[in-house]
């Protein structure tokens, strides 16, 4: 799945977050969306997910030759921080993604367990999520995105509050998932940027690059 952003702008009232931004996010790659805080990375990601509209411009999602606008149904989102159902098990936290995909309970459990294995948390599946560290919760969020079966994974600052070792682990996991989904990571973390297949910079002085 490829995502094309053309001449995009987002404004809140008189405040312009970014304007005239164009970029292409290639299928089957991890692309880092790079920029300083306040540059509009999260807003662009939200627009790509279909969670918020652009003020101007277009976003086209090229899905196997079919082109359409942003669609929340095609997106799994890895949030900044450690959002989780704190008092539910790790497995339950991942299971909601596979169940929301319409799978039967048996299939959903299989997919959720496989996803947890992918992020190295198979042995923690029965624990309450609140017992996990920040890095582990971030991996749970990635497992959830994986279990959702969505073709586009958007990660918003997934390394926020993580130390270097955990950040490297998250980067390695994301790189392993490119065969399953197109991944866009909004970040200004140099570890994640260097581990990505490509980087797209926001701000007028920066140009899209690979």
């Amino acid at each position: 799945m490829r995502v094309n952003v053309a001449d995009a702008s987002i404004s809140f009232g008189s405040f312009t977050v970014f304007s005239h931004f164009s970029a292409s996010f290639e299928a089957g790659r991890v692309t880092a969306l790079v920029g300083p805080s306040g540059s509009g990375k999260s807003s662009l990601l939200a627009a790509m997910a279909g969670y918020m509209p652009l003020t101007r411009g277009t976003i086209n999602v090229d899905n196997g030759g079919v082109s359409h606008g942003p669609d929340a149904d095609l997106v799994a989102w890895v949030p900044q921080g450690s959002n989780a159902l704190a008092r539910r098990t790790v497995l339950d936290n991942v299971l909601i993604a596979s169940l929301s995909d319409g799978r039967s309970m048996t299939d959903a459990v299989d997919v959720a367990e496989d996803s947890l294995a992918q992020v190295g948390l198979a042995d923690r599946s029965g624990e309450q999520a609140r017992r996990l560290s920040g890095g582990e919760l971030q991996r749970v969020a990635i497992a959830r995105a994986l279990a959702s079966g969505k073709a586009l994974i958007l990660a918003d600052e997934p390394s926020a509050n993580l130390d270097a070792r955990n950040t490297e682990e998250v980067a390695a996991i994301l790189n392993r998932l490119v065969s399953r989904a197109t991944i866009v990571v909004a970040t200004h973390d140099p570890i994640l940027v260097s581990a990505s297949d490509a980087a797209v910079h926001m701000r007028p002085e920066a140009a899209p690059g690979a």
Partner: protein, 355 residues
């Protein structure tokens, strides 16, 4: 700067959750081990039991008030001629038949008799004859002796008019029936009519509303008759009870419970974001929230029902408790859902940032 309209095709988001799986999610979120909604469940239990407790207390107070008023003569109605100078005659059979009328405890005629001695207890005591439908104990003995005249326990012998009579101390009766200070004998076969018919109404019956119906059933000759209640209260306690503010307690508890549940739900928005960010549609999340609220409200209604069963002997009207339980649960679920209805429609990334 060129300005053009952003046109983005949007497909409707399909609802892929199965209802049974959403129900399972709701059950775990509400009743799961250390679930964040457990305080709302506990509150549902407390308010469910309290709503019936309040009702039981109110009905007990009403019971006490009505019992006290009944002893003082409320619900004791004497039907007699409207004008003293134009006597009326009420047939015995029609008056005694009133005892079978719904809302009537006892009814019968009373005929004054000559004063009598009831040795060794009373000399020259007032005497009268009355229907056994009015004083059922007259079916077992020859005379009821007022408790101000004698204090024997159980049946005893007394000499009246020089003859031995099986007697019993009249049990406590309502004011105006006159049993406390008289000798009361059963009617004679020739007592086929009387000038007055006494009616003892059930506690919750209003005499002003009932009297005209009772009069209509009587066989009357001579003058017209009217009814007079021994103790007429300016405000009917039953009407006061039915219009009390406390009748809204289940509704108020439900509204309060609903708002508190909504507040607890709002502390979970960053968790609820997880559903949306994982592909759960707005409608599925709204369904999940409604299911959670129904489970909590259902708990309140169920506890209310169990409390009503336990307090059944104390409840005058179990139907009121049932209606209260429905009002409690219904208002709880409705308010909690309405107060949370915006959550599924907020931007998921904003929900995720709520703390």
């Amino acid at each position: 700067m060129p300005l053009f309209t952003c046109v983005q095709k949007r497909r409707p988001v399909p609802d892929s959750w199965r209802f049974t799986d959403l129900t399972r999610e709701g059950l775990r979120n509400v009743f799961g081990r250390s679930a964040r909604l457990l305080p709302a469940v506990a509150l549902a239990g407390v308010l469910g039991a309290s709503s019936v407790g309040v009702l039981a207390l109110e009905q007990a107070a009403l019971n006490t008030e009505i019992s006290e008023l009944a002893v003082q003569g409320r619900g004791v109605v004497f039907i007699s001629e409207s004008s003293p100078d134009r006597p009326a005659s009420i047939s015995r059979s029609s008056c005694e038949a009133l005892a079978d009328t719904p809302g009537v405890e006892h009814a019968g005629i009373i005929i004054d008799a000559n004063r009598a001695d009831a040795l060794p207890f009373a000399i020259d005591a007032p005497a009268r004859r009355a229907s056994t439908t009015l004083f059922p104990d007259l079916g077992d003995v020859d005379v009821l002796v007022g408790d101000t005249l004698a204090s024997q326990q159980g049946p005893f012998r007394a000499f009246v008019y020089g003859q031995p009579f099986d007697a019993l101390v009249a049990p406590p009766s309502r004011e105006g029936t006159g049993t406390a200070f008289t000798l009361t004998f059963p009617l004679l076969p020739e007592d086929v009519s009387a000038s007055r018919c006494a009616v003892l109404l059930e506690p919750l019956v209003s005499a002003p509303e009932m009297t005209s119906d009772l009069i209509a059933q009587l066989g009357i000759r001579g003058n017209t008759v009217s009814g007079q209640e021994v103790l007429s209260t300016p405000v009917d306690p039953t009407s006061s009870y039915l219009s009390r503010i406390g009748r809204f307690a289940p509704l108020a508890f439900g509204v309060a419970g609903g708002f508190i549940t909504a507040i607890i739900t709002r502390t979970r928005t960053s968790e609820l974001a997880v559903y949306r960010l994982s592909g759960t549609s707005r409608s599925s999340l709204l369904t999940l929230l409604a299911l959670e609220n129904l489970l909590i409200a259902g708990t309140a209604a169920a506890v209310s029902g169990v409390a009503a069963l336990l307090l059944l002997p104390q409840l005058l009207d179990p139907a009121t408790a049932a209606i209260g339980g429905i009002a409690l649960g219904g208002s709880w679920a409705l308010i909690a859902t309405l107060a949370s209805v915006d959550i599924p429609f907020r931007r998921p990334t904003d929900l995720a940032k709520d703390r």
